[in-house]
């Protein structure tokens, strides 16, 4: 896991892909967003979406899943090299989340993160704040989701 000092503005991390099945879409929606166009194919066909599509919160949560998997992989790599991993998180929140296109059953979304800004934390000198653009693109190359997140990342050397 990278320390704050190792992070550069412009760094891009490919987080991997996820294919949304109708079953997954409905399972998430029944639990958290049971609007008709997320739980029923026929109702969805009659809606403005035209077909069953994932809750936007499902699309966003899968970004987090792949980001967490990626972080875990990095932590294991650092430990194998006999070093201590940097602490990441928690995030303070996010802004400008855009659900740009529906994610339909069968769509495969490629997720990534790009560092927009890295700055010292005023409140916690042993951490920095990293601002990232999180995105997901479908198999046609269309962007379906983007948001800007801010997260605490531990510094190797505490700041002033």
């Amino acid at each position: 896991m990278k320390f704050f000092e190792d992070i550069q503005v412009g760094d891009v991390t490919e987080l991997g892909r996820h294919t949304f099945t109708a079953e997954d879409i409905k399972s998430f929606a029944h639990r958290f967003d049971p609007q008709r166009f997320h739980i029923d194919e026929e109702e969805a066909a009659r809606s403005h979406f035209g077909a069953l599509c994932a809750s936007g919160w499902h699309t966003a949560s899968m970004w987090m899943r792949l980001a967490a998997d990626q972080r875990r992989g990095e932590i294991e790599g650092v430990r194998l090299r006999g070093q201590g991993p940097a602490q990441w998180g928690p995030a303070l929140g996010f802004r400008e989340l855009k659900w740009l296109k529906p994610v339909y059953a069968g769509d495969t979304i490629a997720y990534r993160a790009e560092v927009l800004e890295a700055r010292a934390s005023q409140s916690r000198p042993e951490f920095g704040l990293v601002v990232s653009l999180a995105t997901g693109d479908n198999q046609k190359g269309e962007r379906v989701i983007s948001f800007v997140s801010t997260i605490f990342v531990q510094r190797r050397v505490a700041g002033p």
């Binding site: 029944h30 958290f32 049971p34 987090m64 899943r65 995030a91 303070l92 996010f94």
Partner: protein, 189 residues
């Protein structure tokens, strides 16, 4: 033509429920009577209206279950590991708080509304950790609304959704526009 209930605010349902058994029961809403015949249209939302939904118990089991599926980081999965992080103990994923907010507004009014989903979220702030055993409520404030410029059949209702705990502390604050059909397309908002 159907009647036009001029609700001053979306009606609150009693959404109190146990967060444990039955939480993830599929089909809970499949026969919801409000689904095909919306009661709330764009015209019914009034800026300034404040409604509180809930309470809802957030259990340790559901925090860990969500994290295992969508945010498998130690601070959301394991009490001992979580105590070593900035969160200082087990807390729900922020995305879980967002998903629970969505669930509570679905139960609160979205399933009764001519909802067309949402184009996005202006901002979410995770202000305080959501701990196991918290009885959360959702305070929904209509900030503003505007008719769509390009589509006369719909409008946008901007909301502030605040997840609050037993002592009214705000845990999560979300600002988001909801897209809702107009009862009378093209009429004055």
């Amino acid at each position: 033509m159907r009647g036009r209930p001029r609700a001053s605010k979306p009606p609150a349902r009693n959404t109190a429920r146990n967060g444990g058994e039955g939480l993830y029961a599929a089909g809970r809403f499949a026969n919801d009577s409000g689904m095909s015949e919306p009661k709330l249209y764009f015209e019914d939302f009034e800026p300034g209206a404040v409604t509180v939904y809930g309470p809802r118990l957030v259990t340790r089991e559901e925090i860990i279950a969500f994290a295992a599926e969508f945010d498998p980081q130690p601070m959301h999965l394991d009490e001992a590991a979580a105590s070593a992080t900035l969160l200082g103990g087990l807390a729900a994923s922020g995305w879980h708080a967002c998903a629970l907010t969505m669930r509570m507004i679905c139960e609160g009014f979205v399933l009764d509304a001519a909802s067309m989903g949402s184009p996005g979220v202006d901002e979410v702030r995770w202000l305080k950790p959501l701990r196991p055993g918290t009885q959360v409520r959702l305070r929904a404030t209509v900030l503003d609304k505007r008719a769509s410029n390009s589509r006369p059949d719909r409008g946008f209702v901007s909301y502030l959704f605040e997840m609050i705990d037993e002592s009214d502390a705000v845990l999560t604050a979300m600002k988001t526009p909801l897209m809702v059909l107009r009862r009378v397309p093209g009429s004055a908002p």
